[in-house]
Subunit: 244 residues, 7 copies
């Protein structure tokens, strides 16, 4: 289908093209690719979430570039794409988590939470008068079934992953993950894998440009800049080793 | 009707073309064909549902490619097409099943359930401001009338089937079913027929790329990868035999 | 009015053309003609409803091609056109019939029921944001005024008939009815007339491809395949006689 | 204003043309002209309503071509134009009549009833998202002020008439009425005038193709086919006399 | 601004042109000019309302051409333009008058009533999805401040007048009023001025083609045809005198 | 941005142009300029409001050209632009003033009142389906903070002024005010300044063509024609002096 | 993407371009740049807000050019862009602050308040029928976490800053801030930095053309013109020094 034909069908979410595509959802996927990348890695001991969060100005407070979000004690999210849209989804997820605790007296299941979010996302791909959310989320946490890692996209499709990347440069980063992932990684190795995967798309990097969090049996925890820095150092070393 | 004329009438669900077609519904059928295929087979002992569910990445958790869905103890569904749309229909079906149990104290009839779903689907083909569901479902189960297998399409038309395929490659797979189906198949032979039908569209396949479920008097049950693998092995053997 | 001019006025139900036509209603009539035909015949003893219901696949369950619909004990309907739209109208008719029984303690009049349906149909021809129903119904039954047969069309106009055809090939079938109808037909002869009328549009036919129902003092009853087959046999014989 | 300019302003009821016209209302008037004609004649003893109601098929039940409608014991209507639209207006008029009886314990005034109807019609000429009613009504009856005859049009303007025609061939029939009407007609002569006026537009006619009703002090009454036939016979005779 | 540019901004009430005009309101003013003219004259003893109300057919009942409307005992209106729109405004005015009596136990002020009407009119010039009222009203009456005469236009602007014309031929008639009006006219001279002003636009006229009403301390009163006729006779005489 | 590009972005209030302008608001400002001018002058003793209110016809009652509006005992408004829109804003302001008295038992602050009005105006610049108010107001009054004078524009921006003009010829009049304004003017000199400023845009003028009001500690008061006339006389004299 | 292609996707907030951009949000950013600049500086002792507020006329009351807004005792805002839009956001922020005090008995957190505002802003970027807010805010205050400074943009993205500029000339001013900012500035030096940053974009300036406020432990306080003037004087001196 050439560009002119495509333009005939890409002006609304309530419209299929003759070959059955919903272009506005595909364009929303492009919005996700415009954002900086995020990565998730599942290990037997917990889930690692990591994201590039480099500030555009030296005067911007690094922590305000919110790419990682604690949703509840036992679950967090990494986002990519349109920042304000991602925040809406994160707010929704936090409310759903709280509601679940109030209603059932226990933490929400990671899969359940993911599907509440994708239901919301799907609704914006079917009605007219709105646009799909231009953001993707990685939802990682631990529940009674163990560590779980899910991804959402602008169509509202949930998938579970062992390790996954979203946002700009996703293909390269996912390739790195597919090569290097081992199911028996400990949490620390998971952090290293996540950081290294992100670095495939970054030329120069400081620890402050990366956000990393882990969700283990001890709950959701953001790594400090120093902790991230250690992994960068290890990498510098291991890079050197790899070069040999 | 040529392409330009068609474009004049294909921009909304609330519009007929001069020859009485609703193009957006036809385009939604194309969305179903873009998805991987699913198959249903009815036998005297129960209904078999099977689907291709090959993951796009080695890191994606196979089980999260939800093509088969338990709706209630006695009924399940296989889907094809737009994944998030299918999930909406499955959620609706689960709620309807639960409501029926609460209200009437008994499991919902398979035909009744199917028609609740197609009523919902039809509404999205008549109002403006929305698009038809880009997904088809196979609803299989056992009720007081015995094993039943129904299919839905994006127009909201329900049909009952002895054996049926939806999604990509539907014509080839349905042709295989029409040739091979016998009404006296036992459940195991039904599984084999369903798997073999799907394989007509797949070049290389592993058990993990297929999802199979049966609904018998014992209720809905997903087959394990090993169980699926056995059928693939049998096929390898029988293929050899057929080659002679 | 040429095609370009027509296109200027055919994009919505809330729009007249300069010569006072509502094109979307006329296009909905084309949708009815795209469906298989149905026939109704009124006799002094009751009403006959008959329809072509040939399945597109040998694996489709014949009975699920719903062309005839019991609405209440004393009234049924035959449909033609967009299947999902027809189902909506049939559901509405069933609810109206039940409501009437609950409210007034007696079966709904056939004319009253027909007009409830056409009121619903008309509303979809006047408001924007929706499309007309792409289906026609024949409503046949017996009430305190005797056997009655009504037809509806996508404009919402009700008409009463002695015998009538809707759907694909309507003109030919109606011509046959006009030639052969006699007001003193008994029910059996009514069935034969209905079947023969449908056969004017069908080359090869089996009993299973036809659905026939009668509404007499004994209520609504679907004929069995065997009963339909007998009429086909008679016809084969009488055809031979006619040829002489 | 030429055709192209006109097309710029004729797509909705909420739009004036630069010369202050509302084209959709004018097109709705064309819809009225597409229908068969109806006639009303006021006499000192009551009002006559008459309409052409020739069936399109010999199998259509003549009475179901509803052109004359009893609204209440003392008032009826004749319609022309879009049949389903006219039925909506007639239903509305019947409900208004009943409501008036319930609320005030007396029959509704003919002028009051007419204006309730034209208020409803006007609303559909001002809001977007709908189309004007494509039907005209003649409302004839007797109330405390004596026999009254009103006409409505798609703009919602009410007018009172001594004698009037609506629908196809209106100009010719109205011309006949203007020539032949005398204020001292008795009811029977009123019927004859109404029938003769309709016949100016009909080449061959049978009594069954005409519907005639009178509203006198005895209330609303449909004439039988035989009664109509007598007037046709008289006419045949008087035509002969006129030819001399 | 040329015609093409104008067309870019004249399709809705919720749109300004670049030079700050609201074309749909201006077109609605054209709709007023398409109607027959009405005139109002204020005298120290009361207000005169007069209108041309010539019937299009000899069989139309003259009184049903409603150009003058009693709104309450002490106030009436003359209308011009789209008849059904004017009726809506008149109905609204009557309800407002009645509400005022119920709520405050006294007749509504003429200025208050006028402004209630223009508020309603204004709303239809600002929202999308509707069109401005295509009618103008003259509101004449007597309240505690003496005789008052107001005019409304499709923009919803109220103005008070000593004497004023609306509708077709407004300019000529208003010119006549400006030349001939004297503030000390008695009611009878006011009637004569109103009639003569209307006659500047009419070639041949009968008393029955004119409607005249006066609102004095004795309340609203329609003049009889004979009373109107007298003024026409006087005019014939005075015309002769003027010719000398 | 040339005219064609502008046309792409000027059709609605819910649309920015690529350079961040909202054209419909700018066009509404043109609507204000189409109206006659109004002027406000703040003095230590109170606020003067003045406006041109020349009637289009000698028969129009001068007072009905409402350019000055008493809003409450202590505050008034002068308007320019679309008259009916201005009346809506004035009605709103009066209701807000009354509500404030009822709720808080004291007169509303001039700034508070102004901001209530601009909030209303702003809403019509952001939602689709409506147009901005085509009117500007000057709000002048005295509250606990002393004399205050505010202006509103169609964007909903409030500004406080020492002296200000709105409407047609605004630039010239404002220029006069900037040259002649002195903060220590007494009320009488304020009236003279306001009148003289208006006269810069008027060739011949009578006192009756001007409306002037003052809001002082004694409350809102309209000047009589005689009072206005005195100021015109003074001016004639001072003009003569200035000519020397 | 060239201009024509861009025009195909820039007409609404509910539309993505093929490369995933939402043009109406980007155009709203242009609206912010059309406004005069504002600056915020965070110091250990509090936050400084400053803005250019030069009046367009010598008669406009300087204080009414509201660029700085007290939101609550402990928090204020500086705005840039569309003035009426900014006022809406400021009103919303004030209500949220009050609600928080009522509900929780304590001042609202600066970050919490910011996110309430950006949630509101985001909603206007996703729904059709409205436009994004054409204004940016700087929110500065002190809460239990110390001095905080946040910025919002038309997409609804919140960021925290040490020092930041919004509005016209933002790039130059931000450059100045990045060069001159030191984290250990005292409040007075913060004021000087803010003023100097604004002056990089202003040729001639008086103290009255600038608005400055500080939020310290003593709460929100607007600087007097004299206080601002002192900083200008210091600058004149230091400028001289810099010139050497």
């Amino acid at each position: 289908m050439n560009r002119n034909d495509q333009q005939a069908y890409d002006r609304g979410t309530s419209l299929y093209s003759p070959d059955g595509r919903i272009y506005q959802v595909e364009y929303a996927r492009e919005a996700v690719k415009r954002g900086a990348p995020s990565v998730g890695v599942r290990t037997p001991d917990g889930v690692v979430l990591a994201a590039q969060s480099r500030a555009g100005s030296s005067l911007m407070v690094q922590e305000s570039i919110e790419k990682l979000h604690k949703l509840d004690d036992h679950v967090g999210a990494a986002s990519a794409g349109h920042v304000a849209d991602a925040r809406k989804l994160v707010d929704f997820a936090r409310r759903e988590s709280q509601t679940n605790r109030l209603r059932y007296g226990e933490p929400i299941g990671i899969e359940t939470l993911t599907k509440e979010i994708t239901d919301l996302i799907q609704e914006n791909t079917q009605r007219g008068g709105t646009r799909p959310y231009g953001a993707a989320l990685l939802i990682g946490g631990i529940d009674s079934t163990g560590p779980r890692l899910f991804g959402t996209d602008p169509s509202g499709t949930p998938h579970e992953w062992k390790a996954v990347a979203i946002g700009g440069g996703r293909e390269t980063i996912q390739g790195h993950l597919e090569e290097e992932y081992r199911p028996d990684l400990d949490l620390d190795a998971g952090v290293e894998l996540a950081v290294n995967a992100l670095l495939t798309e970054l030329e120069e990097v400081e620890a402050a440009d990366l956000s990393v969090a882990v969700v283990s049996e001890d709950g959701y925890r953001d790594l400090t800049v120093d902790e991230v820095d250690e992994h960068l150092d290890e990498r510098a070393t291991s890079d050197g080793e790899e070069d040999e």
